[in-house]
Symmetry: C2
Subunit: 391 residues, 2 copies
Amino acid sequence: MESFNFYSPTYFDFGKGTESNAGQLVRQFGGSKVLLHYGGGSIKKNGAYDAVVASLNESKIPFVELGGVYPNPKSGLVYEGIETCRREGIDFILAVGGGSTIDSSKAIALGVPYDGDFWDFFGSGKIVEKALPIGTVLTIAAAGSEGSPNVVITNESNLMKWSAKGDVLRPKFSILNPEFTVTLPIYQTASGITDIFVHICERYFTNTENVEITDRFCEAVMLTLINESPKLLRDPRDYEARANIMWAGMTAHNNICGVGREQDWGSHALEHEISALYDCPHGAGLAVICPAWMEYVMEHNINRFAQFAVRVFGCSMNFENPKETAFEGIRRFRNFLVSIGMPQHLSEFGVKESEIPKIVEHFLAGNDNKTVGEFVKLGKEEAGNIYQSCL
Amino acid sequence: MESFNFYSPTYFDFGKGTESNAGQLVRQFGGSKVLLHYGGGSIKKNGAYDAVVASLNESKIPFVELGGVYPNPKSGLVYEGIETCRREGIDFILAVGGGSTIDSSKAIALGVPYDGDFWDFFGSGKIVEKALPIGTVLTIAAAGSEGSPNVVITNESNLMKWSAKGDVLRPKFSILNPEFTVTLPIYQTASGITDIFVHICERYFTNTENVEITDRFCEAVMLTLINESPKLLRDPRDYEARANIMWAGMTAHNNICGVGREQDWGSHALEHEISALYDCPHGAGLAVICPAWMEYVMEHNINRFAQFAVRVFGCSMNFENPKETAFEGIRRFRNFLVSIGMPQHLSEFGVKESEIPKIVEHFLAGNDNKTVGEFVKLGKEEAGNIYQSCL
């Protein structure tokens, strides 16, 4: 096991009606004037907006609204938010929505106290040390941004979809009411489930040995998704299944499942090019990329993939030929993704074979020696091969 | 799934050599003068004391020492610690040791700013809202107090072993270096493992349905203990096994495995009478009480015990007679405890059959209608039967 730090200080308020605590929690965590940040308006249909506004009013907390966050959140709105916060003297950002809204909020939060361009922190490895405090009211189970120190933004000037991080970006509080997720379309729900699953895969496939405790935590989340997802196909309004998936989404990305081990993140890096260039849902992109990645890197550690197959997908271990077991695990993972309605091919997002060199160039961003991933390092050639394999 | 709050803001610094960060972390979390609290002196043999003192000196943090905490920590030393803190103007308590030292520190921490008797919070359900900040350097994997809001103290005047809680009692930071645990005697190690296991059982056996995510997290911890413990019997110096067990111990009690569900805590309540009156290790007491409790309450939900048997102990499900499977799970749990050297009978602590009425009287503490446990409520009669069954 590797040495590690673990720090997840977010206060989670989980369950029905918890959105009415928003104002009180903003107050408790020191907010006196709020930027209320949200997306395209679904929160005005599902009741979240009204409840949060009522709660802020009740706590007598003034707020300025900034809507208009779209999936794969863009830099333009971040600049606007930074300016609004400075102009209005805002000291707390309240994100109401899914991962995109939360990430847009985090980017604004780190940009406000920073003299330079907020983008300096993205893709640079520079840790964010200062940011406005944020709180969230989560309405989609997917990104895990409600408990994570991470933020991903797409720069509109060059379509680079890059990330930044820092413990100060962890929300002070996150309100999770599974009821807000019951009205989500099944495709969006399934994209979220895939994102959660792959957040775990990025941690599970590691070169660090002897980390049974986080192996088992990872398996716990994956087994939960496999158990609960079919219930939503039968009844999308199943509160209990929604609740299990929503909390699984938080635990998949606050790093309780990732401590003590080297993590990979190759699939995410490869997928970000797809959702940046083709604007598909991130989770749907991962549904295509991640199994292809698995097949490409499987030989690196057959036994780890056999463990995945046996413990997560209930395969029988083929002791004479563990590779067969490893393959069967990946096959069942694909079947799971198909069963919840996820795509299997990049062509479903409009990607053409002839465009792969362009995608790879974009991936390299001017650095021909760039690699991503730790389990297996992937450079120009490997990235191209993986994209090619999932056309 | 029940609604819940989850708040675990402790900063964990895990791995070899992390004790040398103690001074810097005290400073970071606002301490300027420290009570250095510890036990019977083992930390002077294993290097923890020297490293922590050097770190405090390096950070130029003055400190006052208070040693002498023993297992099942007592109220007398708590009163002494409260007086010392007040007299010396101490603003931060640093616990170096196991759960007993941390709990003694928590009791002092809540007593310092409180005008009345610190004992007012114990057994009363009164939530602790104010306390000095504490940090810990953990040297034994067991109690989980390094990440929990709980504290258990034995009152010397009446031998009541009662608990208190409050989020302010969660340590600001906890330093976990598994190396400090490699020199522990195997009996003490096994008592710790049992305590960790039963912290999970108290959460796993619940009347709340459809909480797959925490079911799976609970199973993750139990499976880890079953996997790692035999390694320590072969080689007590196995760092990797120690590390997995140490982190499992934290996760078993910061409540990440317990959210969304009613919890039981009957076994703990019954055991506290034994360790209070016979001064046995708490974990060893649980090794006797918990399996007896399981057999006593099993009929309440055979399927839950069958799930425990199948998922945790790898039993085959007997679909014609699930009760057989449930029994087999408990039998394997007992075998596991015996395999790590735990006792099976109260008589091993010197308990005589004739003393059971006295133990039950002590358990009732003057309230003939007292019950403990939620999975099944246990009163006077049930407590007596369970004690009787494990003589």
